[in-house]
């Protein structure tokens, strides 16, 4: 009933096109996470939806309604601003209640919902304070509470937890997830935190340079990045990339070794005989082998970082560096030469020139 | 701290708001003064100190023009430095321009620097310069009534030695006598004169009351005339300069009061005065109520808001200039005691210790030349102080206005009223009594007798304070002049 549909939305600031014909369909009740590097246009896209920016092309629909030309207040959405925009002249209570008051709800109801929102965001002690008397994180929570109490069908959150300490962020993340399960508002959530993205999102839309480059469920984004950029952007540490070249028999030579692609890709590789190619693989999908075998490459251990849940190895393969994550009890030391095993099913091959995944 | 600064700022603004730019004597007055749109005339009355009221003669063009000697070329005085000429006359910007670019153009003896401002400013400057001993202004051009103050402050040079040098030009004798300020020395040389005339739009003439002639009108006939006009046009088309810088009080002092009561101060609350105000109220019935905003009458004459008016010659001349075919000038109306009119005389004096005395004398000689006096009339509508006839080659608009001026002075019942004498700086207070009287009786409609009583008391208090004796047309008094 309140799905969100961007149809070739374009936004131009002066001479730069900041949103480049973005189309995106978000289902009713879906929790969509917007992920992307700073300046790629996430906030701008949200503002187009909220009506704070007038689009230069395309349409924006909420449910069946074309809201492209509606004023913000007629779009029936709630929003957490990246800059909070908490009113300095109102107390925390009045800030949280602001949207409710604008709807002329009965004061009992306003009180109830405001207190509820304050409780959820642990603001009950601060209700009588002015924003200037709050910390940055507290102010941010006021902004979140103000949006949540609206119980709007569409909820936009622009990095709502960015200013909280790790622990609080963890709590809030869980709260938001629970809340979403409860109220089922169609949500667009902007974040730079991949864990947040992976944990909260029903789907993740990755933006790059004004475009949505991939939109899928979190595990697919993680496992099957649509291009080199996404693979390199998501995951800590991100995906490893190695240069290779396609041989006449469809295998790929990487350094001195040969790697055989998954059988499903054989047709695609046949056409690429002799071309350079990129091998992408996540650190946890590499295993150490005791001797050379099929799909192994020799590597030199440079750094060993024990991180508790796993060990992170930095290795040199030919002239390139890669990261490998191994079990914490794996015995390994720096300056060791080892064999690395590549699981062909977990490799993501990409066109060397465009960086697009080969499917 | 922020708050303190804000308070300080606000206080600063308030203070600035209340205090004027520093002048010689710092006085709280608003920083910006409204300049009259056209204020050629004095705020203080000229006060002849002679006991014998001198009838001022108006120039008569009928007399055969006397051959005037060609004035000798002015010799460059040795005294160096600029010649600063301060004046309370010709203050409107256009007149200042005329003064600098036309009238003083041919004066080559020194570099004349003409500075014109309100009377207060000029007098303050002269007195302050005398006090400090650093005199910069050499020549002083002010109204007759301003000179006694300057003399009292010993700020004037004795010009008696200059008089023989000016013998080639026929300056009106009575004016020269006035220039002695009641002493046996000459303190100023007459400069120029002006008066007030009636001006009527020709469209109004058809509504003149039967058997009334415009050249010999009475105030009662003026009321009747106004009534006829209003009946025909449904508009009130008489006008008076009763705006904030208008000269209505002069009309009260020099025209209405003398014409009805034969006096001014002594008769201020007389029965004659009551009659005058009653008649004037009748005229006011048909007077454009916008008169309270008129500072000069030429603008409303030209826009035809007003058809009939009386005002200073310099303040109606543009009507003749812009539409010479539309207007006629005529003498002011007469009352039971005669057709009184007022002559305004300005003179030239030299400041004591003037830095450029020779240049100032040369400029006096220059400004009193017949041809320069004629230029004055042509350019700024002030009349010559010479016995000789008006030049014959006057531009048409000057001739049209001069027509009424001459008829006024030659009318069989014409009498001259003098401006207040010996009031000095209190001239403004005196004028205020007239203005308040008019406002209360005519505008606010208060009872005439009550108002006259109140105002006469104020007048008496003022005159007592000043110990000023009566002047013509009031009969001479021994003590301070008092309303009966």
């Amino acid at each position: 009933m309140a799905g969100i549909h961007f149809q070739t939305v374009r936004k131009i600031f002066g001479k730069t096109t900041v949103i480049k014909d973005v189309s995106l369909d978000i289902h009713d009740g879906e929790f969509m996470v917007l992920l992307g590097p700073s300046g790629c246009g996430k906030t701008t896209l949200l503002r187009c939806l909220a009506g704070l920016e007038r689009v230069d092309g395309g349409r924006v629909l909420i449910g069946e309604r074309d809201v492209t030309d509606l004023a913000p207040r007629d779009r029936k959405i709630a929003m957490v601003f990246q800059s909070y925009a908490v009113f300095p002249h109102l107390t925390v209570f009045d800030n949280i209640a602001f949207g409710l008051k604008m709807q002329n709800l009965p004061s009992e109801e306003i009180k109830r919902r405001t207190h509820q929102g304050a409780e959820l965001l642990q603001l009950t002690d601060y209700l009588k304070r002015y924003p200037a008397q709050l910390s940055g994180g507290q102010r941010q929570r006021v902004a979140v509470a103000r949006a949540i109490v609206m119980q709007a069908a569409v909820l936009l959150m622009d990095e709502p937890l960015s200013n909280l300490d790790a622990l609080l962020r963890l709590q809030m993340r869980a709260e938001l997830k629970r809340l979403h399960a409860e109220i089922k508002a169609t949500t667009i959530y902007v974040t730079h935190d991949q864990i947040e993205a992976l944990s909260l999102g029903d789907r993740i839309a990755v933006m790059q340079d004004g475009k949505i480059v991939q939109c899928d469920v979190p595990m697919n984004i993680y496992d099957y990045p649509a291009n080199k950029f996404i693979g390199g952007f998501i995951g800590t540490p991100p995906m490893n990339f190695l240069q290779g070249a396609v041989n006449g028999d469809g295998s790929v030579s990487v350094g001195a070794s040969n790697i055989a692609p998954a059988s499903s890709l054989q047709a695609a590789f046949a056409a690429r005989n002799g071309q350079p190619i990129l091998l992408g693989i996540r650190p946890e999908n590499l295993t150490l082998a005791s001797a050379q075998q099929a799909n192994t490459i020799s590597a030199h251990v440079l750094v060993v970082e024990p991180l508790g849940s796993h060990k992170l190895l930095t290795m040199q393969v030919g002239a390139e560096m890669i990261k490998v994550s191994v079990a914490p009890d794996q015995s390994i030391a720096s300056n060791q030469d080892v064999w690395l095993h590549f699981d062909p099913e977990k490799i993501r091959w990409m066109d060397a020139a465009s960086g697009e995944a080969i499917r | 701290m922020k708050k303190f600064l804000l308070v300080a700022l606000v206080l600063g603004i308030i203070l600035v708001a209340c205090v004027p730019a520093p002048t010689a004597t710092p006085v709280p007055a608003p920083t910006k003064a409204p300049e009259p749109t056209k204020a050629a005339v004095p705020t203080t009355a000229p006060a002849p100190a002679t006991s014998a009221p001198a009838a001022t003669k108006a120039p008569e063009p009928t007399k055969a023009p006397e051959p005037t000697k060609a004035p000798a070329p002015t010799t460059a005085p040795a005294a160096a430095g600029p010649l600063v000429f301060v004046s309370t006359q010709n203050t409107p910007v256009e007149e200042q321009e005329k003064m600098r670019n036309v009238i003083l153009k041919d004066f080559t003896a020194a570099k004349a620097d003409f500075i014109s401002d309100a009377e207060g400013v000029i007098v303050d400057r002269i007195l302050a310069e005398q006090k400090s001993g650093k005199v910069s202004a050499s020549l002083i051009g002010v109204l007759h009534g301003t000179f006694p103050n300057l003399l009292a402050a010993n700020a004037l040079e004795d010009l008696t030695p200059l008089v023989p040098k000016l013998s080639d030009r026929p300056i009106v004798k009575e004016f020269m006598t006035l220039g002695k300020l009641g002493t046996d020395k000459q303190y100023y040389i007459p400069w120029m004169q002006a008066t007030y005339v009636m001006v009527a739009n020709k469209k109004a003439l058809q509504y003149l009351p039967a058997n009334a002639k415009i050249d010999s009108l009475t105030y009662q006939q003026l009321a009747e005339w106004g009534k006829n006009i209003t009946a025909a046009t449904k508009e009130k088309k008489i006008g008076f300069p009763a705006g904030p810088t208008g000269l209505m009080h002069r009309l009260t002092q020099g025209y209405l009061y003398p014409s009805y009561t034969g006096g001014l101060v002594t008769t201020y609350r007389s029965d004659d005065a009551v009659k005058m105000w009653t008649d004037f109220k009748a005229i006011w019935e048909y007077t454009n109520p916008q008169s309270v905003t008129y500072n000069n009458m030429q603008d409303p004459l030209l826009s035809e808001e007003v058809w009939v008016t009386i005002d200073h010659t310099a303040r109606v001349v543009n009507a003749f200039k812009n539409k010479p075919n539309d207007f006629v000038s005529a003498p002011a109306p007469a009352g039971p005691k005669g057709r009184y009119y007022m002559s305004v005389l300005a003179g030239l004096g030299i400041a004591k210790g003037a830095p450029n005395k020779a240049g100032a004398e040369a400029l006096i000689e220059y400004l009193t030349r017949p041809n320069i006096q004629a230029i004055y009339l042509r350019e700024v509508s002030f009349y010559p102080v010479l016995e000789s006839a008006l030049p014959t080659d006057l531009p048409e608009y000057v001739r049209l206005e001069a027509d009424g001026v001459v008829k006024q002075s030659k009318a069989s019942d014409a009498k001259v009223a003098l401006l207040p004498i010996g009031l000095g700086a209190k001239g403004g207070d005196f004028n205020k009594v007239m203005q308040d009287t008019l406002t209360r009786i005519v505008i606010k409609g208060e009872d005439i007798k009550t108002v006259l009583n109140d105002q006469a008391n104020q007048l008496n208090a003022l005159m007592t304070e000043l110990k000023a004796p009566c002047w013509s047309p009031d009969p001479p008094s021994t003590g301070a002049c008092q309303a009966k």
Partner: protein
């Protein structure tokens, strides 16, 4: 040593201003008080105040000054606020309107008075236009002393025209200091224009409003050129009377008495605004 120097720095920076204020403001105002309370022989006197109060115009001047204040200040603030809000929407061509609005700023009050006289006078522009449009057959006398409300109305209009721009400038500057986010948040959370103005814009604008009100009120006490031009002596105001007493009546004592009275009223008004429009530091958003 260094800290001592540093603590002196603010004072040394303030010194020129202080000197200026002392020379051009404190001393003249002291002299104004002297003039107002000193008789000719130098002794203390209230005679100037008595003369002022006894004058025919005094009551009227007081009455009309305050009437003008009551009419003009709220009207102007509302008008200026609307103008500032309009400009602040940055609609296409808003700079053009900004320039138009700013014209009166560049015109002296005297010139404004003359311009409005030309508009309102019997054969003025307004009557001519109304006549051409066939609305009026005969000119309407706006400036008749017999129609004081009309006369007063013209003054209110002319004064509003003249000084609204300055109020607008202050308010617009204040508006531009407010981050746009607040307005956007109000929009998103369902405030219509009226509610947004009432609950967000005005409260955030309060410091500027306070300044604007103070400055406008001070201006209102100073008003007189326009009044002079349009109403002559029929509608006297305090500043005008002060001017008259000084320039026309040559009586500095009474003029100074008026100035002192104006000062007292202005200070009182300023105090009033400070007291009743006070913003707490927390509300104003200072940390």
């Amino acid at each position: 040593m260094r800290s001592k120097l540093e603590s002196l720095l603010p004072y040394s920076l303030l010194a020129p201003t202080l000197l200026f204020v002392t020379l051009l403001i404190v001393i003249p105002i002291f002299q104004a008080f002297l003039l107002a309370f000193q008789s000719a022989d130098g002794s203390f006197t209230l005679a100037h105040f008595q003369k002022m109060a006894a004058d025919t115009s005094f009551g009227d001047a007081l009455k009309f000054t305050f009437l003008l204040l009551i009419f003009i200040v709220p009207l102007q603030v509302v008008l200026a606020l609307m103008m500032a809000l309009l400009i602040h929407t940055r609609f296409k061509g808003h700079t053009f309107f900004l320039y138009i609005y700013a014209i009166p700023l560049a015109i002296s009050d005297l010139a404004a008075g003359i311009a409005w006289l030309a508009i309102f006078t019997e054969r003025g522009y307004l009557n001519s236009i109304l006549n051409q449009l066939g609305i009026l057959e005969k000119p309407f006398l706006f400036l008749s002393y017999q129609n004081l409300p009309a006369m007063f109305g013209t003054i209110v209009i002319a004064e509003s025209w003249r000084a609204t721009a300055i109020v607008m400038t202050i308010l617009l500057a204040g508006l531009q200091l407010i981050p746009r986010d607040y307005f956007e948040a109000a929009d998103v959370f369902g405030a219509n224009t009226l509610k947004r103005t009432l609950f967000v814009v005005l409260p955030l604008l309060r410091p500027s409003l306070q300044n604007a009100l103070i400055i406008r009120t001070i201006f209102a006490f100073q008003t007189f050129s326009v009044v002079f031009a349009l109403a002559g002596r029929v509608i006297p105001v305090m500043a005008g009377e002060s001017y008259n007493w000084y320039v026309t009546n040559r009586n500095p004592g009474v003029a100074a008495a008026y100035a002192v009275l104006i000062l007292i009223f202005t200070v009182a008004a300023t105090w009033f605004y400070f007291k009743f429009l006070k913003t707490s530091a927390a509300e104003a958003g200072y940390d």
